[in-house]
């Protein structure tokens, strides 16, 4: 974790991200968090809030506690492309004793993000003449079973429109 301003922890794989926002203006923090969650929603990721003061930030209630590894596994199993969590860690840094818990917790989150790199199964669709929504879903399931996103490369314009229409989580269609 980096502890000042806003920073991205760089992973060897370039995938797991763990950001820290140090703030004095709560409204500004909430605006940043909303934008962060909106980005996750657009990417098909599951969103979670942790910390009592975050209730109302999104449509779902904030959780009191959070197990990063279990939450990540649950998000993938439910068909999301990933997990995006906003945690209000302020109560954890108010006293020296709780700061030790906070450091342990942050380390856990770092390790969880690093242990769940997202990879892609790339499917060459050069010879593809037709694909329907059932096949797209099967492709997404196949990739998800391997903890990956399916990337279908095809010249079929209908494939991209179908993926967009169905917003199939875990699959991306690229024109070739």
């Amino acid at each position: 974790m980096l502890a000042a301003g806003e920073a991205t922890v760089v992973r060897p794989t370039g995938v797991g991200r763990h950001l820290c926002w140090a703030f004095t203006d709560r409204a500004g923090f909430l605006d940043r968090a909303r934008a962060f969650l909106a980005e996750g929603r657009a990417a098909g990721e599951q969103r979670r809030l942790v910390g009592a003061d975050l209730t109302g930030l999104d449509r779902f209630p904030a959780l009191p506690v959070f197990d990063p590894a279990a939450a990540m596994a649950a998000a993938l199993a439910a068909g999301f492309t990933g997990l995006r969590v906003v945690v209000d860690a302020t109560p954890l840094v108010r006293s020296p004793s709780s700061r030790a818990d906070f450091a342990a917790y942050e380390h856990l989150v770092d390790r969880s993000a690093a242990d769940h790199p997202f990879s892609a199964v790339v499917v060459d669709g050069a010879a593809l003449e037709f694909i329907d929504h059932r096949s797209l879903l099967r492709l997404a399931d196949h990739a998800r079973g391997r903890g990956a996103t399916a990337v279908l490369r095809t010249a079929l314009p209908a494939a991209a429109r179908l993926a967009d229409l169905r917003r199939v989580p875990g699959v991306r269609v690229e024109a070739r």
Partner: protein, 317 residues
């Protein structure tokens, strides 16, 4: 969260028709509605064609916070409108809206040959938008609406709003599920007065798809490919959920391709099929929803020979 105006004690979608005979009558009805929404800081939206939107924009106080959407773009295909609006409403509610106000008008070209699927849209939104605290006014210009359109408007809107502020229940309002399951006889596309170019009986989905490309006389490639997807979905549904024989007939004209798929079954059990996406992919409802997103017109009809879905790519008649 509280709601203002007539739906103050209403839960869900408060759906009203505004049947107006002059621009003055339209303004007298919708301006208090829009200004009231803006004053109450409710998300307030206008989805009208360019001329009517200008009329309303000029008459509104400059300070009124009203969002204008392009009605001719929004109302392209019924299933797409439902998805667009649901996402819009979802966002407003997530931002804390206690009520959302919207004035919309289905563009004039849709009051003709493709009216039937817009009538189905008006019936379906009583359920599709009922998840939201929505107050929706649907404007219809009685100077240009055929009488059968106005009859359907009365059957699909629980109430009407008038220029003097009256909210009147519709005496002929029909429960959406019963309206949607009625499948009244529809006029054929003129191409159907000729013998089909090709007729298949119990084809595979692949054969039915291939034949679309055979009858294409030069429509834009994207429209043909969208029709291929739609035909595939409908034939797959007919083979899986309908009753044999499954007959697929193809017509082609200079500006369109028409495909009619008939099976011996009773048609979809879900009255909202095609307009609201089914989460159950096994029921065939998802395929019908994709079909409604892929074609310029989808018509349902029922007869002694079974259930027919007619799909049009290009210009519907």
């Amino acid at each position: 969260m509280t709601r203002t105006g007539a739906p103050a004690d209403h839960v869900g979608c408060f759906h009203e028709a505004v049947c107006y005979g002059s621009d003055e009558e339209l303004l007298a009805t919708v301006l208090p509605f829009l200004v009231g929404g803006a004053d109450a800081k409710e998300p307030t939206v206008v989805s009208l064609g360019p001329e009517k939107a200008d009329l309303v924009r000029r008459a509104l106080p400059r300070s009124a916070a009203v969002t204008f959407l392009r009605g001719d773009s929004v109302y392209a295909r019924p299933a797409a409108v439902i998805r667009t609006y649901r996402e819009l409403f979802e966002g407003y509610v997530a931002d804390g809206a206690g009520q959302i106000r919207i004035v919309g008008e289905i563009p004039r070209p849709s009051l003709g040959a493709t009216w039937n699927w817009w009538a189905r849209y008006e019936a379906a939104i009583n359920r599709a938008y009922d998840d939201y605290p929505l107050w929706s006014l649907c404007a219809y210009d009685t100077r240009v609406c055929p009488s059968w359109v106005l009859d359907d408007v009365a059957s699909t809107h629980p109430r009407t709003l008038h220029a003097d502020g009256r909210h009147e229940p519709s005496a002929t309002y029909a429960a959406p599920a019963s309206f949607l399951s009625a499948w009244p006889p529809l006029a054929d596309d003129p191409l159907q007065s000729l013998s089909p170019l090709i007729a298949l009986v119990d084809p595979t989905a692949a054969q039915a798809r291939h034949t679309v490309r055979l009858v294409d006389s030069g429509l834009p490639a994207d429209e043909v490919e969208d029709l291929v997807v739609a035909v595939s979905e409908v034939v797959t549904n007919a083979l899986r959920h309908g009753r044999p024989p499954v007959r697929v007939r193809y017509w082609s004209g200079a500006d369109r391709i028409v495909v009619a798929v008939t099976d011996g079954g009773p048609g979809p059990a879900d009255p909202y099929a095609g307009l609201i996406p089914s989460r159950d992919s096994a029921s065939g409802g998802l395929g019908l929803w994709i079909t409604h997103q892929s074609c310029n017109y989808v018509a349902f009809s029922s007869s002694v020979e079974g259930f027919t879905l007619r799909l049009t790519a290009g210009n519907p008649y």
